[in-house]
C-alpha cells in the first residue's frame, strides 16, 4: 500500500481529537487512524496491545514500535503504512497531542496524492470524513467500515454507456444464469465422485464397534474435494475491455464453485481488482474499475504486466492447481522476449494456462502478431470468447478441468 506522509498525517490528525489521557484511548485512536488508512484491525488486537504495554519499556521507541506492530499488523504490506502512522502519531514521547496546526487538512488532495491513488482504499475519505467529532466507543471500533475508494482517476476513463444498455443487461443476466447452472453441475459431479471410492479400514472398524467388531457396514473413504483456483488476467486496453468485462462477469458467477477467483486487469500496468469485485455488485464494481485503473483502454504491455504478476502475486497465488486464464488479443507494445520469459515462468508455476482471444473467432485469423507468437508455446488451451456461446464452451472446459 502506497501512502503519502500527507494522507497519513491527515488520518492521524482526524483522530487526534478523540485521543484522551491514558493508554487505551490513545491506542484506540491510533487503531482507528490505521483502520482509516485501510489496515484491517480488530478491537481485540487493540486491547491486546494495551494489555501488553507494560511488558516493554515504552521509552524505548523501537521496542514499542515492534510491540504495536506485532499486535496490530498482520501482513507485511501494511508495514510501511504502520511505520508512517506510528512516527506521526507517537511523535512525542508520552501521549501528548500531536501539534497538527501546521497541516492543511482542509485542503484538497494534491496532485501527487491523486496520482498515487491506484487501488488504494480509504485514503481519499481520510480527508472527507471528520471523525474527530465522533466519540470513542468500544463497540464502534469494530463496526467502523473501511471507507470505499471513490477515485477520481480520470486518466483514460472509459465510458461504459457506449454499449447499448439494454443489450449489455440482457447479456449480463444470461451470463449469470449460465454460470450458476455450470456451477451446480460442477458440484453434482463432485458428489458422484465421492461414491465408489476405496474402503477406509479405520472408519469401518469404528463404525462396526457396535456390532462387536464384526464387519457389517463398509465405510468408503471420501475423496477429498480438491478445489481449483482460477486467476484471471484481463487485458483492458483498447478493443479488449468489453470482452474482458463479460469474462469477469462470467467468472464471477462461477467463483463459488472454485477455490476462488483472483482477478487482475492490465494494459500498460497490472492492477489487482479482486477486492473491488468482492465488495460490490458486479456492475458497480466494473464502473469503479474503469474509473480507477490507470490506463484502462490505453496501450498494452503484456510482458511487463506479466512480470509484475509473476514477481508480486504469483508466489502467493499460483500453485500447481491453479488455472491461469489470460484474455488478450496479443498485441503487445513491449519487449517480446520479456513476454516470452514471463510466459515460461508462469507456465511452470501453474496447472494450465488458458489464453482467450476474441480475434480467434474470425476464420481468417492467424496468430501472427509477435506477442501472440511468443506466448503460444506456453499455452495449454487457446480459445475464443467473442459471444455467449464461446463463454459457455469455456465454462464447460473449466468444468472438466476442475472436476
Amino acid at each position: 500500500m502506497e501512502v503519502t506522509p500527507e494522507t497519513v498525517a491527515a488520518a492521524v490528525h482526524g483522530f487526534s481529537a478523540v485521543r484522551g489521557h491514558g493508554t487505551l484511548p490513545n491506542l484506540l485512536a491510533f487503531g482507528r487512524a490505521l483502520k482509516q488508512l485501510g489496515v484491517k484491525i480488530s478491537l481485540g488486537q487493540v486491547i491486546d496491545s494495551s494489555r501488553s504495554m507494560d511488558l516493554v519499556d515504552i521509552a524505548e521507541k523501537e521496542d514499542f514500535r515492534a510491540l504495536l506492530r506485532a499486535n496490530l499488523i498482520s501482513q507485511k504490506e501494511d508495514f510501511p503504512v504502520f511505520d508512517m502512522a506510528f512516527d506521526c502519531f507517537w511523535r512525542e514521547q508520552g501521549y501528548e497531542r500531536v501539534p497538527m496546526e501546521t497541516l492543511d487538512i482542509q485542503g484538497t488532495p494534491t496532485e501527487s496524492q491523486a496520482q498515487e491513488g491506484g487501488d488504494e482504499e480509504g485514503l481519499e475519505e481520510a480527508f472527507a470524513e471528520t471523525p474527530a467529532q465522533e466519540s470513542v466507543e468500544l463497540e464502534n471500533l469494530d463496526e467502523l467500515s473501511i471507507p470505499t475508494y471513490s477515485a477520481q482517476e480520470l486518466l483514460n476513463r472509459k465510458d461504459f454507456s457506449e454499449m447499448s444498455v439494454e443489450e449489455s443487461r440482457a447479456i449480463a443476466r444470461a451470463i449469470l444464469l449460465i454460470a450458476t447452472k455450470i456451477a451446480t453441475q460442477i458440484s453434482r459431479r463432485k458428489k458422484h465422485a465421492r461414491k465408489g471410492a476405496m474402503v477406509d479400514p479405520r472408519w469401518t472398524m469404528r463404525k462396526n464397534i457396535k456390532y462387536g467388531g464384526d464387519i457389517v457396514d463398509l465405510v468408503n473413504r471420501k475423496r477429498r474435494i480438491k478445489k481449483t483456483k482460477v486467476v484471471l488476467l484481463c487485458d483492458v486496453s483498447g478493443s479488449m475491455d468489453c470482452y474482458s468485462r463479460f469474462l469477469i462477469q462470467f467468472m464471477y458467477g462461477l467463483q463459488n464453485e472454485l477455490w476462488g477467483v483472483e482477478t487482475f486487469v492490465f494494459s500498460t500496468s497490472l492492477s489487482r481488482i479482486t477486492h473491488l469485485i468482492r465488495t460490490k455488485d458486479i456492475g458497480n464494481a466494473l464502473e469503479q474499475i474503469s474509473g480507477s485503473i490507470l490506463g484502462w483502454s490505453g496501450g498494452t504491455n503484456i510482458g511487463r504486466s506479466l512480470q509484475t504478476f509473476n514477481r508480486n502475486f504469483a508466489p502467493a497465488m499460483v500453485t500447481s492447481r491453479t488455472i491461469v486464464v489470460i484474455i488478450s488479443d496479443g498485441w503487445d507494445r513491449g519487449d517480446v522476449s520479456l513476454l516470452e520469459r514471463q510466459m515460461q515462468d508462469l507456465k511452470r508455476r501453474c496447472k494450465k494456462v488458458i489464453w482467450l482471444n476474441p480475434l480467434l473467432a474470425s476464420e481468417n485469423y492467424e496468430p501472427l502478431c509477435k506477442g501472440m507468437q511468443a506466448a503460444l508455446p506456453y499455452i495449454d488451451l487457446f480459445l475464443s470468447v467473442h459471444n455467449l456461446n464461446s463463454l459457455v464452451a469455456l465454462g464447460h472446459t473449466l468444468q472438466k478441468m476442475v472436476a
Binding site: L55, V56, R202
Partner: protein
C-alpha cells in the same frame, strides 16, 4: 515429518520464559547460534510473555521454523511439531480412537465373558486414545509448557484453519466420550507460513505477527561466523556479498539463509579458503535448485556481469 513430533533433551535446566527481557531473549537465542535482530527478539519476547501465538512469515529458508526449535531447546520444553499439508484434518491433528485396540479388547472380553459396562467405559479412556500433536500439546503435564510448532500453515486447507482457530482461542479440546480437556499450561505456539496463500484474518487476529526479512550483509556475516567459526573472515564476507547480490537479481527462486549455510558447509568440506569463479560454478547446486537459475548464473559469471572481486570490494565495511 508429517504429524510427527520429537523430544529434544537439553542438559541445562530451562529458563523461565516469563522472566526474560528482550535482551536476554536475543542472548539465549544467540547462545544456540540463532542470530536474530532486536525486532524479532521483541516479538518472541512478547509472544512468550503474553502467551499469544506468533505467526511468522517470510521467504523460504530465512529461519522461521528454526526459531521454534531453538526456543524449545533453550526453554527445555518439549517441541511438538505439526507439519501442515493439504488434506490435513482434525483426526490427524487432534486425536483419534485406537479402533483396532478397542476391537481387540472387545473380542477378548467376549471370550472371557467380562462385564459389558466395564468394557464400555474402559475402551474409551485415555489408553485407547491416539494423541495427535494438538491434543498432545494441550494435555501435556510437563512443568515447562511445550512449544507447539504449526509449520507451513498455508499448506493446510481453509477448513483446517477454522478448526485451529477454535483450539488456539481457548486451548481446550472436547472429546465427547471423555469430556473437555483444558490445557494446564498454555503451550507456546508458533505458526509459520510461506505465503502460498493468505491466512484468514480471523486466525491472524489471534496471533502476533512478524515478517522475517532476508538478512542484511552484517547479519548474514554474523550468522556464518557464529555457525562456522572455522570459515575465514574473508571468505565469509565473499559468501555474504555474493548472496546479497544474487538476491537482488532476477532468479526464479531466490536463495535463503538455509542455502547460505548449505553452501558454507560445502565450501568447508571442499577445504576452500576463498571464492573464485570456478568454485562458485562447481558448488552452485547448494544455492540454486532450478536448471534455469543455474544456467542464468553461469551466464552472469561468464559474461562478467557478476564479478566476485568487484563484489568484495564494494561490500560494506563490517563493524568491529
Amino acid at each position: 515429518m508429517t504429524g510427527s513430533n520429537s523430544k529434544i533433551t537439553y542438559s541445562e535446566a530451562g529458563v523461565n520464559p516469563k522472566q526474560l527481557t528482550i535482551d536476554e531473549v536475543q542472548e539465549i537465542l544467540l547462545k544456540e547460534q540463532y542470530v536474530c535482530d532486536r525486532s524479532l527478539a521483541t516479538v518472541v519476547y512478547l509472544s512468550l510473555a503474553m502467551g499469544k501465538p506468533l505467526l511468522l512469515e517470510g521467504e523460504a529458508g530465512v529461519g522461521k521454523t528454526e526459531i521454534a526449535k531453538v526456543l524449545a531447546k533453550v526453554l527445555n520444553a518439549k517441541l511438538i511439531r505439526l507439519q501442515c499439508y493439504e488434506g490435513l484434518d482434525a483426526n490427524t491433528a487432534l486425536y483419534e480412537w485406537n479402533y483396532p485396540k478397542q476391537m481387540l479388547r472387545i473380542k477378548l472380553e467376549e471370550v472371557q465373558k467380562g462385564d459389558k459396562r466395564v468394557v464400555e467405559t474402559e475402551i474409551f479412556n485415555q489408553d485407547y486414545l491416539l494423541k495427535r500433536p494438538l491434543l498432545e500439546a494441550i494435555i501435556s503435564e510437563d512443568e515447562n509448557p511445550p512449544v507447539l510448532l504449526i509449520d507451513e500453515i498455508d499448506r493446510a486447507d481453509v477448513e483446517f484453519e477454522a478448526f485451529l482457530l477454535e483450539v488456539l482461542s481457548d486451548f481446550q479440546i472436547t472429546i465427547p466420550e471423555i469430556g473437555t480437556i483444558q490445557a494446564k499450561h498454555r503451550p507456546y505456539v508458533f505458526l509459520t507460513s510461506n505465503r502460498t496463500r493468505e491466512i484468514h484474518d480471523a486466525l491472524k487476529r489471534r496471533c502476533l505477527y512478524h515478517w522475517i526479512e532476508y538478512p542484511t550483509f552484517e547479519k548474514e556475516y554474523e550468522i556464518i561466523s557464529t555457525k562456522f567459526p572455522e570459515v575465514a573472515p574473508n571468505m565469509a564476507k565473499q559468501i555474504c556479498a555474493f548472496m546479497q547480490r544474487v538476491r537482488e537479481m532476477n532468479f526464479y527462486k531466490r536463495p535463503g539463509v538455509a542455502e547460505t549455510l548449505d553452501w558454507a558447509t560445502a565450501l568447508i568440506a571442499l577445504n576452500r579458503k576463498g571464492l573464485d569463479d570456478n568454485t562458485v560454478v562447481e558448488t552452485m547446486g547448494c544455492v540454486f535448485k532450478y536448471r534455469e537459475d543455474l544456467h542464468h548464473l553461469r551466464e552472469q559469471i561468464e559474461g562478467k556481469q557478476l564479478n566476485l572481486d568487484a563484489l568484495l570490494r564494494s561490500s560494506p565495511e563490517l563493524r568491529s
